[in-house]
């Protein structure tokens, strides 16, 4: 019986796909090494032609395969990624002096028509990732608000990323009301939710840790906690009542538990040099209560929707 199971395993397709992938990867790596060897001997025009040619070949391949086919969409994704390589080579040759955020903004701007035409969710996610990178690199060198210290850079980054990804999440939730076949309703929503909740949690935790005791800006921690609570309650209501999703609720619960744990640590004054044993005990009990309540909430949600 057990022997038969082993014999029935798809050995043929496994070896077939494995050897094909390995062969293609080795040949591509070999081509990469070949260009690396000759890179210094290539003229600037050759370098630009090579990187631009790679974009063109991928795009022509995508059009040939058809944008409604998976291969075509995959090739368009490759072409979009290679645009970034082209911009980097261009910047290196002409020493444009462009900042990193300009590279990512330009990249996102140039590929937008393909993204809009592709009807391919991974490409949209990649495009949003580029905008995230652009925002992330923008604030450290921004002169818009004057010179920012590291704490202000962190604040600006988390809030702007929260707004950007939150807007994307909102648009995706609105778009799912229409019957669009290519629009994924599962993993992409969770990625967008994660991309929204992570900066929101980081901002709140940052405010709790850095501004709680500050006499000048202690209110900002309080305001951050109130905003975070309102944001989570709103999302929780949506994903439990209007469009039930247990993974989405789990992401939110984990984020709330993390923020509450940091809040407990702040309340218990964990940064004092000699901690009492009682503080450790209370912290442990609080963590048990926080995570226990979180899990209880999720289990209740799961059971109530199983009964429905």
């Amino acid at each position: 019986m057990e022997l038969q199971v082993r014999r029935d395993l798809p050995w043929k397709s496994w070896l077939d796909r494995g050897l094909l992938s390995l062969g293609v990867v080795l040949i591509l790596a070999g081509i990469g090494y070949f260009f690396a060897h000759n890179w210094d001997h290539l003229t600037d025009n050759d370098k630009l032609a090579l990187s631009g040619g790679a974009v063109l070949v991928s795009f022509v391949g995508a059009t040939w395969a058809g944008l409604n086919q998976f291969l075509g969409k995959l090739l368009l994704l490759v072409a979009s990624a290679l645009v970034g390589v082209y911009i980097a080579v261009f910047g290196q040759i002409y020493q444009t002096g462009a900042d990193s955020y300009e590279l990512f903004t330009g990249w996102a701007f140039l590929i937008f028509p393909w993204v809009a035409l592709s009807r391919f969710m991974p490409l949209w996610i990649m495009w949003l990732g580029l905008l995230n990178m652009a925002l992330g690199f923008y604030w450290p060198i921004s002169s818009f608000w004057g010179a920012l210290d590291s704490w202000d850079v962190f604040r600006h980054e988390t809030i702007s990323l929260l707004l950007l990804n939150g807007l994307a999440l909102l648009l995706s939730e609105i778009a799912r009301r229409w019957p669009i076949s290519w629009f994924d309703r599962g993993w992409s929503t969770l990625i967008l939710l994660l991309a929204t909740i992570i900066p929101a949690s980081l901002e709140t935790i940052g405010e709790i840790l850095y501004t709680w005791d500050s006499s000048s800006s202690s209110k900002s921690a309080f305001i951050a906690c109130i905003c975070f609570a309102a944001f989570i309650i709103g999302l929780g209501f949506y994903y439990s009542r209007l469009r039930y999703s247990l993974p989405a609720l789990a992401i939110m619960t984990l984020s709330v538990c993390t923020v509450l744990t940091f809040l407990s640590i702040r309340f218990l004054d964990f940064d004092q040099p000699h901690l009492d044993a009682g503080i450790w005990l209370i912290a442990g009990l609080m963590v048990l209560a926080i995570f226990g309540s979180g899990v209880y909430f999720l289990r209740t949600q799961r059971l109530s929707h199983q009964q429905d």
């Binding site: 082993r6 014999r7 395993l9 050897l19 247990l246 912290a283 442990g284 899990v295 799961r302 059971l303």
Partner: protein
């Protein structure tokens, strides 16, 4: 679709499937379904339990103070914590408490090591024996998969350290005689490979000894990655030429052992010795391919191939994915370390790629031509 109750009632055996029994069975199935939590909920439970356990340990340690004069007290508290963890873990109270018990058990073990067999006061050999005994005792007493895996892994890694460092100060370089070191390294390498096969290739043993098998796989992977980072360099020899020759011989011997294991696992996966007798040419081809691979000396690449083969034939996703992750790491390291210039390297890479595609075509045409399967 018929419900389970309807299905059983219509089966004709009313004696064994009376309605009360079936109602109870249905309730049990619903309860079982409810307790089957998705993986992300398990992760949240695990994080909460481990975090809470850390705070409670902080409480215990702060109570007595972390000082050398309290070393024995810490050891005793470790024993108490370990006993509590084993009792709670065996009771199967729930996932949350299981995770708490696991965290407390690991912390208890750390406290026992600190309290009773601290390497500052005891030779490393004593720590090794202690870790092996503790792993064996906990394997029997505490039937938790993760606990078994982690305890065994720790004991195996401590033994690796002892093999290279002897009873000298750990991490200050090997201090063992070269001849003894080579015997121990080879023996321990062979022990890993043989025990992995022993644990997994017999279905009767695979359930009980799976944690040990996974611990051995994790230990072997860590060891190979340590070799990749030159942690265990042969520095104790006065002559650098001797040291290089010694390291090379050890490397070849270990590679041959992996190749032999791959060959053995392939025979097992294909259906045993009867298939070997049926298709000797296929296995001669495999043996020749392995011999070429050994000659090329890719080291860790063969280990990754072994894990992929083992994972695929056992249908174990974890082992297979581990092999898939290790394969590009060791393969790129192999090509990166070839003493060739970029142009020759590119030719070698393209040649290897073409060889793979040729091998694929050959297999399709001559080996798998008569074999049909669903893709």
């Amino acid at each position: 679709m018929k419900s389970l109750k309807e299905l059983c009632l219509n089966s004709g055996n009313e004696e064994s499937f009376n309605p009360e029994r079936l109602h109870r069975l249905e309730e049990m199935l619903i309860e079982d379904h409810r307790s089957d939590l998705p993986w992300y909920l398990r992760i949240i439970i695990g994080i909460g339990a481990w975090l809470a356990a850390c705070f409670f340990l902080g409480f215990a340690i702060t109570l007595i103070g972390w000082q050398d004069e309290h070393q024995t007290t810490i050891g005793i508290i470790g024993v108490v914590l370990l006993i509590i963890a084993v009792v709670v873990g065996r009771k199967k109270v729930g996932l949350f408490f299981d995770q708490c018990a696991l965290a407390v058990s690991l912390a208890g073990q750390a406290m026992i090591y600190y309290g009773f067999v601290n390497e500052q006061y005891h030779p490393l050999a004593t720590v090794v024996i202690f870790s092996l005994v503790l792993a064996a005792v906990l394997y029997i007493a505490y039937p938790s998969f993760l606990s078994r895996l982690m305890t065994c892994f720790f004991a195996l890694q401590i033994t690796t350290l002892w093999i290279y460092a002897g009873n000298g100060e750990p991490f200050s370089g090997p201090q063992r005689m070269a001849s003894h070191l080579s015997e121990l390294v080879l023996g321990y390498w062979a022990f890993h490979l043989a025990t992995i096969c022993w644990c997994f290739l017999n279905p009767r043993r695979s359930t009980l000894f799976a944690p040990l098998g996974y611990a051995l796989i994790a230990s072997l992977t860590t060891w190979q990655v340590e070799n990749l980072s030159n942690i265990w360099s042969i520095t104790s020899m006065s002559n650098s030429y001797d040291a290089a020759m010694f390291a090379l011989a050890l490397f070849w011997a270990k590679t041959v052992l992996i190749a032999l294991t791959i060959f053995g696992v392939s025979i097992w996966a294909a259906g045993g010795l009867s298939v070997l007798r049926e298709k000797p040419l296929l296995f001669i081809g495999l043996a020749l391919t392995l011999a070429v691979l050994v000659w090329l000396g890719p080291g860790g690449v063969l280990l990754a191939l072994l894990f992929m083969l083992l994972g695929f034939s056992l249908q174990s996703r974890v082992i297979f994915i581990l092999g898939l992750i290790l394969f590009p790491i060791f393969l790129s390291n192999y090509y990166y370390n070839l003493s060739l210039d970029l142009l020759v390297k590119s030719i070698v890479l393209i040649g290897s790629g073409l060889a793979m595609l040729l091998l694929r075509t050959g297999l399709k045409r001559w080996v798998f031509a008569d074999l049909k399967e669903a893709i």
